[in-house]
Symmetry: C2
Subunit: 581 residues, 2 copies
C-alpha cells in the first residue's frame, strides 16, 4: 500500500547518495517506508524515486498498525486491552506530543490537564532536532538511526558520509531493524525507543516468576527521601580530540573522539555510532526506570563541518558527563565497558554480552531493592507518580519557554542589535568626517574623539554579536539538555502509570480467578518497588537540576557582568577623549 | 478655483472647533486655502465642510503662483529674470528640498552635486514636524502659523486651544497674512520665512543709495578668520515655570513661561506667541545673514499636555540659549526688549518700533562693517560660499543620518528590547516557581536566587526603556536643533549665491549702460562685505558646533557608562545569590 506524504521542509539531495530533492509543500508518494535509519523512499510527481529524511515529511494517513508478534513469556491477555501498553505509548510518541499520551488514554484516574503541544515530535531522539542556535530556521536535521545488527568494528553507517553506498547500507539496516515482525514507521520508533516494550508491558515485571538476573540496584532512605546508592567516587570523563579517519581507500570517512574516564585516565576511541550503540543499550536496559536522554543529533550533510564537529563533541561531552553522574548508569557493566575496554577483542566480547542482556525494559525493576524502606500503598504510589508527572510537565513548559525566549534573544543579539550599534558607530564617524572638512581651526580634538566614539560603538556591535556564544550558549545548552531529559519522562512515567492501572485491576482479576491473591500481593509490592525507584530517580533529577541550574545561572550572570563592565569601560575611554571648554 | 487634495494622515476633529475628521488616503476638495495658521477648509465626499491641518494633506495640483506686487524701491528689472530671487527660492522651499534649489537654477557656476532629498519639507518651521521621539509614527503636527497683525497683548491664537472660536480667529488671521497681494500656500510660507524677500532681492543692498540705519555690526579678523564682535559678557537666560493662564472667563487658556536673563536676573513673562513674534522679527531682520532656527512646533491638540509643555519649554530654552550665544542677535534691540522689557507699555512701544524696523532682509548687510579686512575678489567670495554650502549640506546629511539611526535605536530601546528582557526575567521566574513545587529539600536557595535574577532582568528592562530619555534624548535634541539650523542655510547661502550672480553680470550691465562703473565697484565691495558676514557667521557656527558636540557627546557617553555600570552592578548582585556546591 502506497501512502502520500506532505513535505515539511526543503531537502537538497546529496549527489550520488540515492537521495531525492524535495520542496516544502510538495506531495510525494511513499514507495518504501521500511528503509530505516531515518529515511524513507519516495516518488515525486515527476516520477523520480529516491530517499528523503523521514522527519522532513508528514505522512498523510497513518498506516494500520500491525501489533508485534513476540510470544509473551506469560499469558497476560486477560488485562484490559484499552489500558495503554508501553509499546502503544511509545508508538503514539511518533509525531505526537509525548505528554498528550496520558490525556488520550482510557485508564482514568490521572487528572492531568496537559494540553497537546503544537511542536510535533518532542520525544526521544528527535527532540533535539530544532537546533536552537541555527537562527530560527527550525529546520530539523533528519535523524539517521543506528544499524540494529551492526557488529562490525569498522562498518560504516555514521559520521561523515561520502558519496555512494550510503543509501544501500541504510536500506539493509532498515530491513534488519524491523525485527520481531513489526513494521511501519511507528513500530520502528517504538523499537528505537523502548525495544523492551515491544515484547512486554509492566505486567511482565509485576507478575514475573523469573529469578532476578544481574546486579542488585539498591534504593536507600536518604535525607531527601528514597535515593539511589551513590558511589564514593564520582565518575566523570572527557570527550576530546575529534579526529577524522577514513577507510575503504578514503571512500568513507568518519570522526573518532577520544573518551578519557577519570578512573583509568586511559583514553579510548569512539565514533558517534558507538555512542549511539551505548545509548540504545542504556535505553533498552534502564529506560523504564531512568530517563535516558537522547544523544545529540546526527547530521544529514556535512556543511560547516568544523563547527558541527565541535558542537557535537560538546554535546557528547554533556551527555557523557550526565551519564557519568548517574549512579545506576555509571556503574553498569555496559557503561564501564564503553569507558574502559582494554582492546578490540574486549570491546567486541562486551558488546555481544550487552546485546544479549535480558534484564531490559520493565525487568530492570526486578533488580531494584528498596533497603529498609516499608512497602508503600497504591494510593501513595499513585500520588507520587502524579506529583512527578505534574512537575516534569511544568518544568518542560518552563524550559521550553526559556528556550523560546533565549532563541529570540539570540537572534536579536546576533542580528538587528549589533547592526544598530554599528550604524550608530558609523553615524558618529560620518559626522566626524564631515567636521574634518570644515576648514575651521581647532577641529582636531572633537573629530578624533568622535571617530573614537564611533569606533567604540562598532566594537560594541562586535561584542554584542559575540556575547551569546559566551553566555547564552551555555544557558541554552543546559536547558536544551533538560528539554531532552524531560522529554523522556512521559515514557518513563507512563510505565509507572500503566503499572498502577494494572495493580488497580488486581482485585477484579482475583475475583474472576485469573490471578491468585498471592499474585495480587506481589503486584502491590512490586508497584511499591517501582515507586521507590521512581522516587530515587526524581531525587537524583532534583539534585542534579539544582546543581546544574546554579552552575549555569552563575556562569551566565558572570559573563553578563563581564560583558556590561567591558562596554562601560570602553565607553569610559571614549568619553575621556572629549574636552570641556 | 477648487483643488482636490489627498489626505496623508488620519486626523480626528476636535468637537466644536469647526474641524473636519479625515482618513488617510481620502480625497477631499479644498474650499478655502486662505484660512491660514496651518489650516485649510475642505469638503469631504459626504459634503461635510470643515478645517483640516495643511500638513495632513497633499494638494493634487500646485496653484498657479502669483508674484508679489510690492513696488521695488529701485528699478532692477534689467537683471536676468531666470536668476533666482530669494523670494522664488523661498517659494520653492514649500514642500521641496531646500538644498535642491541650487540644482535647478540656471545661474551656473555652482558645481554642487546635491541630490534632491525625498524627505519633503525640511526648511523653516516645518522641519521640526516629525517629532523623532514619538516612536516613529512620523505623524506631523500641523503647524499653526503666527498671526501677522497680532498686536494685542492678550489676543489668543496659540497655546492651549479650548473649544469654539479657534477656527474663526485663525481664518481672520489667515486673511490678514496674505498681505502684499500674494496668495496661495506657497507665498504664505515665503512670507513666513523671509518677509524681507518678498520686496527685494540682493540687488536692493548691492545697489542701495540709502544711508545705513541702525547700529553697525563689525566683523573683525580673529584667530580663525573673520569673526563677529563678541561681547565681553556672554548673555544667557533661563526659561522656566510654565503657568497656565486663562482669559475670557476661562473660555481660552494659554501657557506663560518665565524668561530670566542672566543680565538683569529679573523674570519677564512670555507666551509662545511672543516667542514666535520674536522669531519673526529676528528672521525678518537677520535671516539673510544669519540662519535663524525655527521655534519648536506648536501642537494641534492638547494630548499629553504636561509632557508637551515640558518638551516645549526645554526646546524654547534651547532656542533662547542659542540666540543668547549669538553676538549679533543677542545684542539686537528687539532681543533685548524681549528679555528685559520693564512693563507692558515698554513692551508695546518696543514691539511697534521693532515692527517698523526698515533694516531688514538683505539691508542688514548695509550695517555690516568689516574692520581692517581687505576687500575680497569675487572668485574668493564664490569659493568661500561654495565651501560653506558643501559643508552645511554634508553636515545636514550627517545629522539626518544620526537622527534616523537614533530614532530607530530609540524605538528599539523603548519597544522590543525591554520586552525581551522582561520575558527573560519572566522565564527565570517561571522556572523558579516550577522549582518551588518540586517538594525537594534544599530547593530554597536556588529558587530565591532565580527569582531574584528574574526580577533583575525585569529591572533591566525598565532601565533599558527609560535610558533613552537620559542620554539619547539630548543627543537627539542637539542634532534636531542642528537639523533646524542647517535647514536655514540653503536660504541664507542662497542670498549670497544670488548676490554673486548679480555681481557677475555687472560688466555686461556697465557695457549696456544700465549701471555705472562706480555702481559696479560698489557691488563688488558689497559682495565682499556679505562674504565677510558669511565667514563670520560660519566661524560662529563652527565654534558653537564644536562646543555643542563636545558637550552632547560627553553627556551621552557619561550616561551610557552609568547605564552599563548599573546593569553590571545589578547582575553582580543577582550572581552573588547563587551558590556553588
Amino acid at each position: 500500500m502506497e501512502s502520500k506524504a506532505q513535505v515539511l521542509y526543503d531537502f537538497a539531495a546529496e549527489p550520488g547518495n540515492n537521495e531525492l530533492s524535495v520542496r516544502e509543500g510538495e506531495t510525494i508518494t511513499i514507495t518504501n517506508q521500511n528503509i530505516g535509519g531515518g529515511w524513507i523512499e519516495a516518488r515525486n510527481s515527476r516520477g523520480e524515486v529516491g530517499l528523503v529524511p523521514e522527519d522532513y515529511i508528514e505522512i498523510n494517513q497513518a498506516q494500520p498498525l500491525t501489533s508485534g508478534g513476540n510470544a509473551a513469556p506469560l499469558d497476560l491477555s486477560f488485562f484490559d486491552s484499552h489500558v495503554p501498553t508501553p509499546a502503544s505509548t511509545a508508538q503514539t510518541s511518533n509525531g505526537n506530543d509525548p505528554w498528550a499520551v496520558f490525556d488520550n488514554n482510557a485508564s482514568g484516574g490521572f487528572s492531568n490537564n496537559w494540553a497537546a503541544q503544537p511542536e510535533g515530535t518532542e520525544t526521544g531522539k528527535t527532540s533535539n532536532n530544532n537546533a536552537w542556535q541555527s537562527g530560527g530556521h527550525g529546520h530539523p536535521q533528519a535523524y539517521q538511526g543506528p544499524g540494529a545488527e551492526d557488529d562490525e568494528w569498522d562498518e560504516e553507517w555514521d559520521d561523515m558520509k561520502s558519496s555512494g553506498g550510503y543509501a544501500e547500507s541504510e536500506a539493509g539496516e532498515g530491513g534488519a531493524m524491523n525485527r520481531g515482525g513489526a513494521h511501519g514507521s511507528s513500530m520502528k520508533i517504538a523499537l528505537n525507543k523502548f525495544p523492551g516494550f515491544s515484547k512486554s508491558g509492566p505486567e511482565l515485571y509485576l507478575l514475573s516468576k523469573q529469578q532476578t538476573k544481574g546486579n542488585k540496584l539498591s534504593v536507600y532512605s536518604g535525607e531527601v527521601g528514597p535515593v539511589w546508592a551513590y558511589p564514593d567516587y564520582q565518575l566523570d570523563c572527557v570527550v576530546a580530540d575529534p579526529k577524522k579517519g577514513s577507510k575503504m581507500y578514503g571512500l568513507k570517512s568518519y570522526i573518532e573522539y577520544q573518551v578519557i574516564p577519570t578512573t583509568t585516565n586511559k583514553p579510548v576511541n569512539h565514533r558517534y555510532k558507538h555512542f549511539d550503540w551505548l545509548y540504545e543499550r542504556l535505553l533498552d536496559k534502564f529506560g523504564s526506570a531512568i530517563p535516558i536522554p537522547c544523544l545529540p543529533d546526527k547530521q544529514v550533510t556535512g556543511r560547516f563541518e568544523e563547527e558541527f564537529i565541535k558542537m557535537r563533541m560538546e554535546r557528547l561531552q554533556g551527555w557523557m558527563s550526565r551519564m557519568c553522574r548517574h549512579p545506576v548508569v555509571s556503574s553498569s557493566e555496559v557503561f564501564q565497558l564503553f569507558l574502559s575496554y582494554k582492546d578490540e577483542k574486549d570491546w567486541k566480547t562486551g558488546k555481544r554480552k550487552a546485546e544479549k542482556d535480558e534484564t531490559v525494559g520493565v525487568m530492570i525493576f526486578s533488580t531494584i531493592e528498596p533497603e529498609g524502606l516499608p512497602d508503600m500503598d497504591l494510593i501513595e504510589v499513585e500520588q507520587k507518580c502524579e506529583q512527578f508527572s505534574r512537575f516534569t510537565k511544568a518544568m518542560d513548559d518552563g524550559v521550553k519557554d526559556l528556550l523560546t525566549v533565549g532563541n529570540e534573544h539570540w537572534k536579536r543579539c546576533t542580528g538587528p542589535l549589533p547592526k544598530e550599534y554599528q550604524r550608530i558607530g558609523k553615524a558618529f564617524q560620518n559626522l566626524s568626517s564631515v567636521f574634518t572638512t570644515s576648514g575651521y581651526e581647532g577641529e582636531g580634538t572633537l573629530t578624533d574623539a568622535m571617530t573614537a566614539a564611533g569606533k567604540t560603538y562598532e566594537e560594541i556591535a562586535q561584542m554584542v554579536a559575540e556575547q551569546p556564544k559566551k553566555d547564552l550558549h551555555f544557558l541554552m545548552e543546559t536547558n536544551n539538555e533538560y528539554k531532552g531529559l524531560l522529554g523522556c519522562f512521559p515514557d518513563t512515567i507512563g510505565v509507572h502509570k500503566a503499572a498502577i492501572e494494572k495493580v488497580k485491576e488486581a482485585d477484579k482479576l482475583v475475583t474472576a480467578g485469573k490471578i491468585t491473591a498471592s499474585d495480587k500481593t506481589t503486584m502491590g509490592k512490586r508497584a511499591s518497588t517501582m515507586s521507590y525507584a521512581l522516587q530515587a530517580e526524581m531525587n537524583h533529577f532534583h539534585n542534579n537540576r539544582i546543581y546544574d541550574y546554579n552552575r549555569v545561572m552563575q556562569q551566565y550572570l558572570e559573563q553578563q557582568v563581564k560583558f556590561y563592565e567591558m562596554i562601560a569601560e570602553k565607553l569610559r575611554q571614549a568619553h575621556s577623549q572629549f574636552t570641556t571648554m
